[in-house]
């Protein structure tokens, strides 16, 4: 579990996050949603230590991340996997080398053991046989899946996904969402997803937090979105007239 306590973040005069306190649950897909500029990416980066908060604490289980020294942070990060919006695959490395990279850096596994692990991860994301291709030679959706394979290769306890569906067609988005949810459940991972995608919210939102103007505006599950009658979350998720009609039909 990851717990955030009283996080504030300002960039100069600009207050981006105000007094955010929330828990992200183990074995569940936790979603951070909100409009552009609401502070989602900043919150995600604070959770993984790429941006330091102005004040507040981030607990990984019982350990405050911001009390750790550099060595302890590096050790903790071996339990963290991250899928970037751009996939962030290394251009000069093949798919195989990209996934193998953390194993090369941090494990004492033999070449054969690494190959078995890499192939398992590729199979897990349904991408067998593309080991020797370069990231530029595969599609955006495949790059995302390679990104997931790299994120899980070290068997992380925490998985962070920054806009995993951006730039993907709806069908591929659903595949990615399902894959992340399955991996989360199988491995009992604490998964935190930063997303704009309303399909994701309704399909895999086991815990959802809505940020609005830097504040925590709503917290709940995808089923509560429809039942609770919270206007703010409903207006955000069912923003277009088409989605409003669909929601009304569903409620009927």
């Amino acid at each position: 579990m990851i717990r955030v306590e009283n996080i504030d973040k300002s960039f100069g005069e600009l207050e981006v996050l105000r007094d955010i306190s929330v828990s992200f649950l183990r074995g569940k897909t936790n979603l951070i949603i909100g409009r552009s500029g609401a502070g989602k990416t900043v919150l995600l980066k604070i959770l993984i230590g790429l941006i330091h908060p102005t004040s507040g604490k981030v607990f990984y289980e019982d350990t405050n991340f911001y009390d750790l020294n550099k060595r302890q942070v590096r050790k903790l990060r071996m339990d963290v996997g991250m899928l970037f919006q751009s996939s962030a695959l290394f251009d000069s490395l093949t798919v195989d080398e990209n996934i193998r990279f953390p194993l090369d850096m941090f494990t004492k596994m033999t070449h054969k053991e690494k190959s078995i692990r890499v192939n398992y991860c590729l199979e897990r994301v349904n991408l067998e046989g593309i080991n020797n291709k370069y990231p530029s030679e595969v599609s955006g959706g495949m790059q995302k899946r390679v990104g997931i394979a790299r994120a899980i290769v070290m068997e992380p306890k925490y998985l962070f996904c920054d806009e995993p569906n951006s730039g993907l067609d709806p069908k591929t988005s659903i595949t990615i969402d399902k894959l992340i949810q399955e991996i989360t459940r199988e491995n009992n991972i604490t998964t935190i997803i930063n997303t704009h995608d309303m399909n994701s919210v309704m399909e895999i939102g086991e815990k959802i937090i809505l940020l609005e103007g830097g504040n925590l505006a709503w917290e709940g599950t995808s089923t509560e979105v429809l039942s609770e009658g919270n206007e703010l979350i409903q207006n955000f998720i069912f923003a277009s007239p088409f989605l409003q009609r669909l929601k009304n039909m569903a409620l009927k």
């Binding site: 790429l50 942070v73 590096r74 050790k75 990060r77 991250m82 919006q85 751009s86 290394f90 090369d104």
Partner: protein, 248 residues
């Protein structure tokens, strides 16, 4: 301006400290060192050879012209070309050229990795990114660039010979006699000292510029330009300081 300089200098020193922190696993760095040795060394052979050839040729022809009609023996041209090449032209010109070629490449490669979140990805994995990205380049640069400088000095002297002797400015014997005149191995030592110091400058300054780049393609272009400009300035400054220290 002074505050800005102190800020950047302090951050540069901290980055160097972090990058010299050493690898978790030496084997993972070895592959990177070899890759950069190839890029910096083999990738620069042709440009360095061409520039050295012409610099040697022009130096010889110019001195033949300058000394024409004077009482100075013509074989002095070989001596002048040799010492100018070894002490100054080979290390300094080669490294100024490499600051443009290798330096801009390092700044844009590392800067591109920063912009495409590759560095963030490595940080999250727990990699010491400063060390992984900069240390192999420093090792590769400080190994290959002195060799390139040595090659440049050799080709430059060869260029002087080829441009002058067949054209009849002086005979081959005169040139060879001049080359052996007042030979001091200390000058070769000075050449290697310069090339090691310059290579450190032309690797680390661009690495710093790339590592901390922010924004988009314009900022990346600016960092690449700044990398070359600052590398050149600091190479020339170091050239002066080394000359003062080693000839005192």
């Amino acid at each position: 301006m002074i505050r800005n300089f102190i800020f950047h200098f302090g951050r540069y020193v901290l980055l160097l400290g972090q990058s010299l922190g050493g690898p978790r696993k030496a084997r993972t760095y070895f592959k990177e060192v070899v890759r950069h040795m190839y890029d910096i060394g083999i990738g620069s052979v042709i440009i360095v050879a061409l520039i050295s050839l012409f610099i040697g040729a022009v130096t010889a022809v110019q001195f033949a012209y300058q000394l024409g009609g004077t009482l100075i023996p013509r074989y002095y041209i070989g001596y002048i070309v040799r010492d100018m090449t070894i002490i100054e032209l080979a290390p300094t010109i080669t490294c100024l050229v490499l600051a443009g070629k290798v330096g801009s490449n390092i700044a844009s490669e590392i800067g591109g990795m920063r912009q495409k979140e590759h560095i963030d990805a490595m940080e999250i994995m727990g990699v010491n990114t400063a060390s992984y990205l900069i240390l192999p380049r420093i090792i590769a640069g400080m190994t290959m660039i002195p060799l390139l400088v040595f090659m440049a000095a050799t080709i430059s002297i060869l260029g002087a010979f080829l441009a002058s002797v067949p054209m009849g400015f002086f005979s081959g014997d005169e040139f060879v006699k001049g080359l052996g005149l007042f030979y001091d191995p200390y000058n070769v030592f000075m050449m290697f000292v310069k090339s090691v110091v310059f290579s450190f400058i032309l690797i680390t300054i661009p690495a710093y510029q790339g590592y901390f780049v922010k924004g988009g393609s314009i900022e990346l272009g600016n960092s690449s330009t700044a990398a070359v400009v600052y590398s050149n300035i600091f190479i020339l400054l170091a050239d002066y300081l080394i000359a003062v220290v080693l000839t005192a």
